[in-house]
């Protein structure tokens, strides 16, 4: 017999009890809404991170001390915590990598960082000084928006010059043009050469836009540090990434033990971050899925009540020719419809929620999340509808007609 006719029948009895149907759906609405919204936040974050990495360039290799991906190190940004006791990466390793692999490596940067106070006029800020080489401009595609980068000769002479990220420039100088102004870093005066273009990024934490960029040599000279945090190499083209990685490992491997340094590329870093975010997404989705199960139990509860309440109706339908399967289908479809309609409303709420969030947060409702939520809510309806529907189908017409 015509399933579509049974659908109409089920829909009608849902509409006959509008407020009860809505309250029954509420569990599924909340369940589906929270699953979709939370996974949309998770996937949005992943997409955002991937985007950020792509903007940094894809033909970049990093060398850091220790093993940030290993069990000991623990992944924590570009440097491993345990290796802070003595300098591991040395400038001559960097130079020999550049010298020995001209066919693979176009250019490179070594970086160091320290934190200090910056002062301009009456404004004082604690800033991160990012010591780099002048090649940073081309390797990272980070031009000066105003002014210029320092030159390699300024770098060699450890001159007290600096560039500002756009955010810190704004914080220290406001509307004033910082170029050729002088700021105090750790009490010594530095000339601002330029302001960098905006890079974005850095959720809550410091971003590239709030760093002060100095020649690494200047930091070594004036800030009592000799730690190199990382080498960054620009590979001539993407296809050579693997070869370049092996070449760098070989060159530095002559000086350091295997576990004292790690060479990695963006994809490795990205996949680590993505696997963490993926896990987070699944975890959040899983927790909110519990409410979906609770919603399903709500549906089962109401359907059981409904079967009892409609015992006479069931008896009548059976007397007039409804087979047990048709009664089963009617109640099963009713439960599934409650769940699916609830799922659709939940989906709509999640979608609106993600739109509202987009102003503050990169939320993204994916087709997969929609299909998953829709599928799960249908299955929830069917599973929790089976028991009441079976109960209805089993009723004997005589007993049911006699029921008061």
């Amino acid at each position: 017999m015509k399933i579509s006719a049974i659908f109409k029948l089920a829909l009608k009895s849902i509409l006959l009890n509008k407020s009860r149907s809505f309250l029954t759906m509420l569990g599924v609405i909340i369940g589906v809404g929270s699953v979709v919204l939370l996974t949309s936040i998770g996937t949005g974050l992943q997409a955002y991170v991937t985007d950020q990495f792509a903007s940094l360039g894809t033909n970049i290799l990093y060398v850091v001390p220790g093993n940030p991906f290993g069990e000991k190190g623990g992944f924590g940004g570009q440097q491993s915590v345990i290796e802070r006791t003595k300098p591991v990466l040395k400038r001559r390793y960097f130079n020999s990598v550049i010298r020995n692999n001209r066919d693979l490596i176009k250019d490179g940067v070594f970086t160091t960082a320290t934190v200090t106070g910056a002062k301009y006029g009456k404004i004082t800020k604690t800033v991160t000084l990012y010591g780099v080489t002048s090649s940073y401009e081309s390797v990272y595609n980070t031009q000066a928006n105003k002014g210029r980068w320092f030159t390699s000769s300024e770098e060699e002479k450890s001159e007290r010059v600096a560039l500002l990220g756009p955010k810190i420039a704004e914080e220290l100088f406001g509307q004033i043009d910082p170029v050729n102004k002088t700021i105090l870093l750790n009490g010594q005066s530095y000339t601002i050469l330029g302001v960098l273009k905006e890079k974005g990024g850095g959720f809550g934490g410091p971003s590239f836009d709030s760093y002060v960029y100095l020649p690494a040599e200047t930091i070594f000279k004036y800030f009592d540090t000799e730690f190199i945090d990382s080498f960054i190499f620009e590979v001539r083209n993407k296809e050579q990434i693997k070869d370049a990685k092996l070449a760098i490992e070989k060159t530095i491997g002559k000086e350091l033990k295997d576990d004292e340094f790690t060479v990695f590329d963006q994809t490795q870093l990205l996949s680590t971050i993505n696997s963490i975010l993926g896990m987070l997404t699944v975890g959040l989705g899983g927790i909110s899925a519990i409410s979906l199960v609770v919603g399903g139990i709500g549906i089962m509860n109401i359907m059981l009540v409904s079967v009892t309440e409609r015992t006479r109706e069931i008896g009548l339908r059976k007397a007039l020719g409804a087979t047990p399967n048709l009664i089963l289908a009617q109640f099963l479809i009713e439960a599934a419809l409650l769940s699916v309609i609830g799922g659709l409303i939940g989906l709509l709420i999640a979608y609106l929620g993600s739109l509202a969030l987009q102003a503050y947060f990169p939320a993204k409702v994916t087709i997969q999340a929609v299909i998953l939520a829709f599928g799960v809510s249908t299955i929830v309806g069917l599973i929790f509808g089976v028991a009441p529907a079976k109960k209805a189908a089993k009723l004997s017409p005589i007993e049911a007609l006699r029921y008061e």
């Binding site: 017999m1 006719a5 029948l9 339908r317 007039l320 020719g321 409804a322």
Partner: protein
């Protein structure tokens, strides 16, 4: 048309077995109007349930139009009830908050006919007009009097052109005026050629039938035609 051969129906309540029907043999011919009477516990209701295929007999055979139907399974019996049997209940058994028209169409629905088709609409209207409710098509049971509700139920019993109509105390829940209306309609239906089997305990209702069968202790006590 309906032929029961040594039909029994036993119920088990705890350890005791109750013989609600005890080897009843009975024949109902086409166009007959039979009243089944007897005190409560006499087996008249059980007879109606078994004869109308709502319940399975414990023993014996039932033939409907020469076909042995007592061994039918649940699904076969449901289809048989839908196509060949019309039911009129004491308490009407209409669906609440559902129009008279839709109530009448319910047997059509289970016969696999689209209830939004012109055929179904026309047929249901025709049936309601036949019981004098042509102006009450869209009223729900709550908006109808008891007599009107029972007339809707009669229209519903007629819609699939059944060969047999079973009525279980059709006037039992009605005042005497409405009861008279229902009696009149049943008489007319019989005159038009419908076979009716009616359970009642009221003498005056039984009198409209042409044959009265009295049950006692699960057996036929008397059977005479007027």
């Amino acid at each position: 048309m309906l032929n029961l051969k040594r039909v029994s129906k036993n119920y088990k309540i705890g350890d005791t077995v109750i013989n609600a029907l005890d080897h009843v043999s009975l024949k109902v011919e086409e166009k007959e109007f039979v009243a089944i009477m007897g005190p409560s516990g006499s087996g008249k209701s059980t007879f109606l349930q078994v004869a109308s295929m709502l319940a399975e007999p414990s023993a014996g055979e039932i033939f409907l139009n020469g076909v042995e139907v007592s061994s039918y399974n649940e699904i076969q019996r449901a289809r048989l009830r839908n196509k060949q049997i019309g039911f009129i209940f004491q308490s009407f058994n209409l669906l609440a908050r559902t129009s008279a028209l839709e109530n009448v169409m319910m047997p059509l629905f289970y016969a696999g006919i689209k209830t939004d088709s012109n055929y179904a609409m026309d047929k249901a209207k025709e049936m309601l007009e036949r019981v004098g409710l042509g102006d009450r098509l869209y009223n729900t049971p709550a908006q109808l009097s008891g007599g009107q509700q029972q007339r809707v139920a009669i229209a519903r019993a007629l819609i699939n052109d059944p060969t047999l109509i079973f009525a279980d105390e059709p006037t039992g829940n009605l005042d005497s005026k409405s009861g008279e209306d229902i009696k009149k309609i049943l008489k007319e239906l019989n005159k038009e050629g419908k076979t009716i089997i009616m359970v009642t305990h009221e003498e005056d209702v039984a009198e409209i039938a042409k044959r009265q069968i009295v049950f006692k202790d699960g057996k036929v006590l008397s059977d005479h035609k007027s």
